[in-house]
């Protein structure tokens, strides 16, 4: 779970870090990706393990379009306006999903990996979960490399540091922003496809990921997307172990408490500066 949290948070953190925009619709992007994985399987029998590039592309386009249609108009507005816009968008997407596909839980019970388990001594790990963890790590590393190594990635970093200086160097900050939103979306595109193999799909399914992703991004530290992956893993472990030892009703309490405690020691996040 932690790795998936990490990947969702990487996407959120990328947008947050580069554009200083809090994307409240991030969880809804995830939810839409899960739905598209569900429909790919139900309609065309394409297993989520194979269809993930399609979901990723779809959510990339959704992110790109969101920037061009909405965020572009609010990115320079005072602080909380962008938040207003993305919150409205999240409300809209969630209820559109409910309108189109009803609020019922949808499961994918017979995908390739479903119900297969890996036994390692006393540990029982489901293959879908394992695949999700591995896929999340791979995608996160791919994003880190993209941001660190490619021309577009470096343009993103430059724009994050100082937008006007980057523009003076000939960087088209418009397309950088649109691309950042797309990549942020692509992260949840992958995460959604992998989650759909073992997590019920319903209009609210992205909501808790949104809240957790905020906490994880902050725990990792803003401006350092590499921090989000380990922070996600820590929170995933905290949730599982806390839920196991103290009871499931306290698992999120533990997660949020850990954030508050860690921030006392490192007020700018574990890996922030």
């Amino acid at each position: 779970m932690g790795c998936v949290y990490g990947l969702v948070a990487v996407g959120l953190g990328l947008i947050w870090g580069v554009m200083d925009v809090i994307n409240f619709a991030h969880g809804e992007f995830l939810m839409l990706s899960m739905y598209s994985a569900y429909w790919m399987y139900t309609l065309f029998r394409i297993d989520p393990l194979l269809s993930w590039p399609i979901e990723t592309a779809l959510i990339f386009l959704l992110g790109y379009a969101t920037y061009k249609l909405i965020i572009k108009r609010v990115v320079n507005a005072p602080g909380l306006t962008a938040l207003l816009a993305t919150y409205g968008l999240s409300l809209m997407l969630r209820n559109l999903a409910q309108f189109a596909w009803s609020a019922n839980y949808k499961y994918l019970p017979d995908t390739f990996l479903a119900n297969k388990r890996l036994l390692m001594g006393p540990l029982i790990i489901g293959w879908p979960q394992l695949a999700a963890a591995a896929g999340s790590i791979l995608m996160s590393v791919a994003v880190f490399n993209f941001v660190g190594r490619t021309r577009m990635g470096r343009a993103m970093q430059a724009t994050a540091l100082d937008r006007s200086a980057a523009q003076l160097m000939g960087i088209d900050s418009e397309s950088v922003y649109a691309f950042t939103f797309g990549i942020g979306g692509a992260c949840v595109g992958v995460a959604g496809a992998l989650l759909a193999t073992f997590f019920p799909v319903y209009p609210e399914s992205g909501a808790i990921y949104s809240t957790l992703a905020f906490v994880i991004v902050a725990l990792g530290g803003f401006g350092n997307i590499r921090g989000a992956l380990p922070a996600g893993i820590i929170m995933g472990l905290a949730e599982t172990l806390g839920g196991f030892y103290l009871g499931t009703e306290y698992k999120y309490t533990i997660v949020f408490l850990i954030y508050l405690l860690v921030m006392q020691l490192r007020p700018k996040g574990l890996f922030g500066w």
Binding site: A85, L91, M92, N95, F214, F222, E249, Y252, T253, Y259
Partner: protein, 342 residues
């Protein structure tokens, strides 16, 4: 008091007087309901505006105080059989104490780290109430029926008494905000918003000022929460503690205009009827059409009027003015100067 302050006070008094007449103009129960919700949310917005609009500390966790207030009033009658007013007072003190306790660690964080921390606090309080058996956990509390009257805070034959209580609450919240924003303390908070270092350099204690603002804001929010519980007479943690409440407070204030006494009123007067009437018109479909429209409208407003409605109003009032309020400008220049010299 300066000239602007007097003008603002008189305008507020006029607005409240007009509000007192408004519920008498109609007997429609739906209209009364919408008026009550506007006033309650406007009061929440005023309370939140103290900590975020003036002091610049974005709180995403105000549902915690709202919920404590709601539970205080409900528990007073449900468990102890005493008047909800006592519960309201106890809850306001409790909220203030909670605010003081969490403020100490949370205010060490800046900017987004602070905002996420308030969200974490809100969620923790929420989760604890869901798990807490003594307050009936996730089942919620149905406040037992009591004879009508001010003492029991229950009125069934008409919504008018609730409307007047809501007006009184709004007057309280708006005047607290008005006096805070025009006082020396209010200017200290604005200085902190501009730059904490600069504020410290001119002898303000940011820690103490932010703590006072938070405690005040939390107590006000809690009082409104108590009134809300007595109005709907049934509460559960999902209703009163959820992020949606915190976000609604943020939304309507930002929509109306941050840091101004008129912002929350304007925002609530637009947002609440929108959400209530789309719900009445389309809510019956059970498929969320009301929220689709509501969400789309929020997006549209944010895109085309990023300064909030108050920005539009200001532009209409002074076509050539392209500046922020005078006082705000002063503080900003001062802090910039201090930063350069530091």
């Amino acid at each position: 008091m300066g000239k602007n302050a007097v003008r603002e006070r008189n305008a507020l008094l006029a607005l409240i007087a007009a509000m007192c007449v408004l519920p008498l103009l109609t007997r429609n129960v739906n209209t009364h309901h919408v008026i009550i919700m506007i006033l309650l949310y406007a009061s929440l917005g005023e309370a939140w505006n103290i900590i975020t609009g003036l002091a610049g500390q974005t709180s995403f966790g105000h549902a915690a105080f709202f919920g404590i207030g709601a539970y205080g009033a409900a528990m007073a009658y449900f468990k102890f059989g005493v008047t909800p007013w006592i519960g309201m007072a106890v809850a306001a003190v409790a909220s203030a104490v909670v605010a003081a306790i969490v403020s100490y660690p949370v205010f060490r964080l800046r900017g987004h780290y602070f905002a996420v921390a308030t969200m974490a606090v809100g969620e923790i309080v929420f989760q604890l109430f869901v798990a807490w058996r003594w307050v009936e956990g996730a089942t919620g509390i149905s406040i037992p029926v009591a004879p009508e009257g001010l003492a029991t805070f229950q009125f069934r034959s008409s919504k008018l008494p609730y409307a007047y209580i809501a007006i009184a609450l709004f007057a309280l919240a708006a005047f607290v905000f008005h006096f805070v924003s025009r006082s020396k303390f209010g200017f200290q908070l604005r200085a902190i918003r501009g730059s904490e270092e600069a504020a410290m350099a001119i002898g303000i204690s940011p820690a103490r000022a932010k703590l006072t603002a938070m405690v005040l804001s939390a107590a006000l929010t809690s009082i409104v929460g108590s009134a809300y519980a007595q109005y709907v007479l049934y509460i559960d943690p999902f209703m009163v503690f959820s992020m949606a409440i915190s976000m609604k407070i943020v939304l309507l204030t930002v929509l109306g205009g941050l840091g101004s006494v008129w912002g929350p009123v304007l925002g609530a007067a637009i947002l609440i009827p929108l959400s209530e009437y789309t719900r009445i018109a389309f809510g019956g479909t059970g498929r969320g059409v009301d929220l689709i429209i509501f969400g789309a409208l929020i997006v549209l407003v944010a895109c085309f009027e990023p300064q909030g409605i108050i920005g539009l109003a200001r532009r209409l009032a002074q076509p050539n003015a392209n500046r922020k309020g005078g006082a705000d400008g002063d503080v900003d220049t001062k802090s910039d100067a201090a930063r350069t010299s530091a």
